[in-house]
């Protein structure tokens, strides 16, 4: 069963292992993949990079048969396939390792590997455990995995569990392995181990696609790198010829935004003060460590960073969705570290959540009901018991009118609006109730250019009125243009606070990658000093 024999099996010589041709996937209001041509050569590691929401996972779900593409076709080894589901994709030799493992905790390594394709004995009546262990052991040895086939899943490490997932795919005959953000859950040592495994797999003739937004890893492990942005393929580069700066530029895009008229900040008193705060994510891994900053009246405090470096956890701790593990948060002079989310709303904290379809909108509610979301206990909207639908409707009509939500139909369900209009509605709902702090997380993600400009203008209007604004965005242009001070997050820490006008995009890119460019330390010291003055 050498790799050569298998590739000869029905494959056209010289064809790419994976060839996705003109893939478009539309969801209501969103084009997740827009005419993507994507090819991966046999026996190579191909990294797929892009921001969250750029369409990476959607593209891979199309390849894995979880989604049917709206347009376009998939060829595996030159043969065209139409997958009805993952099992068809598996039959074609595709295996996918999800970010969250799908293993049975209480079963052994070998049992998990063979699950669904168990070797049997007694004419198919019983699982042949001995053979399962034997086969798992042979497979693990072949690829150089250090795994005990009889160990129980909940007793082995995350890195080992990932290897079990890979073995499971190999056991089912996968020739092409898709790994969805495989390093997100691993320690640095485990990441090195994973890269060794990838090399081993390539040596055995396998093809690997891995999704990541960590550029350094893509450069280290991949032969080729494809960059997605807003559902489109920006380009494919050879990792030998690419640099982090170049990739970052491709990933976030530039010259997208028009220059903004931004008057000088009228900075007032601090509204939000975060002191020595650490936050653990749901797995108990420290996501934010020991962060200190303050956001003042009338300024935009930006946070830049590659997605997944603790920004989401930081925001959820500030807005009251997640308890910090240590440190304090002060809002408008009072300690709110343990205050409930609704208390924070009542005190005037507006929040544009990063995932609007999950958090900021109830997709099955019409705009009228969505206008109430988060406001339902504020005195303008209810007396705490009975909803004042009349003023809610007025408010919603105002928001629709002022923020140009189209179509202007308050009785239409949220899911029937385009992403841009959904976001304009959320921004309007949050801004119109006169907040003293706006927490805006990825406020223009997946939004059309016209709406982006509109949302930026409104943010600056609020800033001119003396509102404090905390802005998180993985779009470098956006945070640079809007922010008065810009913090860069890497691996849960704020590695620098810089003056966005004085820092170059290249320097920012390095900071985001966790490196300290020459000259930045002094710069950040200057801005930090200014803050405490």
């Amino acid at each position: 069963m050498s790799a050569d024999d298998e590739s000869a099996d029905g494959a056209r010589p010289g064809a790419a292992a994976v060839h996705m041709d003109g893939i478009t996937k539309r969801f209501p209001g969103v084009v997740a993949n827009d005419d993507i041509d994507f090819a991966v050569d046999r026996g190579t590691v191909h990294a797929l990079v892009g921001e969250n929401g750029a369409g990476k996972t959607t593209l891979m779900n199309v390849l894995y048969g979880l989604y049917e593409p709206t347009e376009g076709s998939v060829r595996i080894d030159g043969v065209r396939h139409e997958f009805d589901g993952p099992s068809d994709a598996m039959d074609a030799g595709i295996g996918m390792i999800h970010q969250h493992f799908m293993l049975v905790d209480t079963m052994t390594v070998a049992e998990n590997v063979v699950l669904g394709n168990e070797p049997t004995k007694w004419g198919g009546f019983a699982t042949d455990r001995a053979q399962a262990i034997e086969e798992t052991k042979a497979l693990a040895e072949r690829y150089g995995f250090d795994l005990d086939p009889t160990a129980q899943i909940d007793e082995i490490s995350i890195g080992e569990q990932q290897r079990v997932e890979i073995l499971k795919a190999l056991y089912r005959g996968a020739e092409i392995l898709i790994l969805d953000e495989p390093t997100a859950v691993l320690t640095p040592q485990e990441v090195e181990g994973l890269f060794d495994i990838l090399e081993e797999l390539i040596a055995e003739g396998k093809t690997i696609i891995f999704i990541t937004h960590k550029l350094g890893e893509a450069l280290e492990a991949a032969d080729e790198i494809s960059v997605l942005r807003d559902g489109k393929l920006v380009g494919t580069v050879s990792s030998a010829a690419a640099s982090q700066e170049e990739l970052a530029r491709m990933m976030v895009g530039r010259d997208v935004l028009l220059d903004l008229e931004k008057p000088a900040a009228q900075r007032g008193d601090p509204i939000l003060e975060v002191e020595e705060m650490s936050v653990e994510d749901d797995r108990g891994v420290t996501a934010v460590s020991d962060v200190d900053f303050a956001v003042h009246e009338g300024e935009v405090f930006g946070i830049a960073g590659v997605d997944g470096n603790g920004q989401s956890e930081l925001i959820e701790a500030i807005t009251g969705l997640h308890q910090p593990s240590s440190g304090t948060i002060t809002f408008d002079g009072s300690q709110i570290t343990t205050a409930s989310r609704s208390d924070r709303i009542g005190m005037g904290m507006a929040y544009i959540a990063e995932d609007r379809q999950k958090r900021s909108l109830v997709m099955d509610y019409d705009l009228r009901r969505n206008g109430l979301l988060g406001c339902q206990r504020l005195p303008e909207f209810s007396n705490g018991f009975r909803i004042d639908w009349e003023s809610t409707e007025e408010y919603v009509d105002d928001v629709i009118d002022e923020y140009d939500v189209r179509p202007p139909d308050p009785s239409a369900d949220a899911h029937s609006f385009s992403g841009g209009n959904q976001q304009k509605f959320i921004v309007g709902r949050e801004f119109e109730r006169d907040p003293s702090l706006v927490v805006a997380s990825q406020p223009t993600r997946g939004v059309d250019i016209g709406s982006i400009e509109f949302i930026h203008d409104r943010l600056l209007d609020l800033r001119a009125d003396g509102t404090a604004i905390l802005l998180v965005s993985s779009k470098l242009d956006e945070v640079r243009q809007l922010s008065d001070r810009l913090a860069v997050m890497h691996d849960g820490e704020i590695v620098a606070v810089v003056d966005p006008d004085a820092v170059s995009e290249e320097e920012l890119g390095l900071l985001m990658a966790g490196e300290q460019p020459a000259g930045i330390t002094a710069e950040s010291a200057r801005v930090r000093g200014g803050e405490s003055a």
């Binding site: 996972t57 009805d84 993952p86 996918m96 969250h100 989310r341 109830v362 099955d364 639908w389």
Partner: protein
Amino acid sequence: MSGLRDRLAGTLDRLVDASPLERLLISVASLVFALVLGAVLIFVSGFVATCNSPVVFIPGVGYGCYNPIEVYSTMLQGAFGSPISLGQTLQETTLLLFTGLSVAVAFRAGLFNIGTQGQMVLGALATAVTVLWLGPFVPNNAIGTIVVIPAGIAAGAVVGGFWGMIPGVMKAYADAHEVITTIMLNFIATAIAFYLVNNHVGDPSSDSVLTETIPAVAQFPAAIDGSRFSFFALGAGLLVAIGITLLYTQTVIGYELRTSGIQETAAEYSGVNAERNIVTSMTLSGALGGVAGAMYVMMAQYRWQTGIPSLGFDGIAVSILAGNNPIGIIPTSLLFGTLKSGSLAINLSLGVPTELVEVIQGLIILFIAMPEFFRLIGKRSGFGSDTPATSGGEQA
């Protein structure tokens, strides 16, 4: 193969996206279809049954015993033909209205309360004990009734609510699935009630496991001679249905409970404590189950005794059939009430075996409930309008 799958998936999509009018039409068509199929079934079964006066003879096949039209007309007669049968129908309707509302309240908040039966059993006992204790202290007239009946309802609501709160707390704070816990608590409720009545609060003069008959002041004033049905109880049920509708459309807590059920992440965003909401919803649901028990004691049985009918389980079907809409539960509980009292008559006057009557009942429920059921399942499994992937999530 894949063509069939696509077509099934397409049908499910259309079902999930169906408008209220389309859903009503689907239900009516299902009812007609079920009646037609039931008629065929009755007619065919007639040829294997034995009877003294066959209704039809087909040469080569034999004598048929049952005339489907007669069966259906007897069923209608049995449900509505006389004041007494009408009273019986409305009494069943009233009880099902409460148990259906109990299930619906939980469902609206994204919870599946299978425990209405247990909540009803314990609520009924609490009512019986309370009114038996209270009876001697109040005057034996309308004033006594005005005191005792509300007290009995309150006792049922409190105990039923407590019994509903337990799985709510277990769900919210210990992640125990409410379907499992409520089913288990049904057994516990029945056992506790049996023990208490058998050993402590039962009628000592009786060998059966039952309480004494509740005093006349605690009995709902009957509307029809020969029937125990009371318009007060039905009226209370209708008011509760309207009240729950108002709760979900007009009040902050209703908005929050509903948002928690429809989209928990958005509820958290809006500052709702999802855990507390789970407990609240289950308590409210349990309280309504308890009130159903109170109605059962004070309107139907006039005492607590073992073998309380499975009104709580029927309430699940009543609620699902109505799409968990409180106002929709009014007609569905009437449908079930009609089936229950009408089928009794078929058996008594036509000699159609109860098993066959239950098959007909089952067919009607199955046909009407299935489209709604598939709609619910389809919605939960992501059919209907496609939604995009959230990155990093589990799609498989």
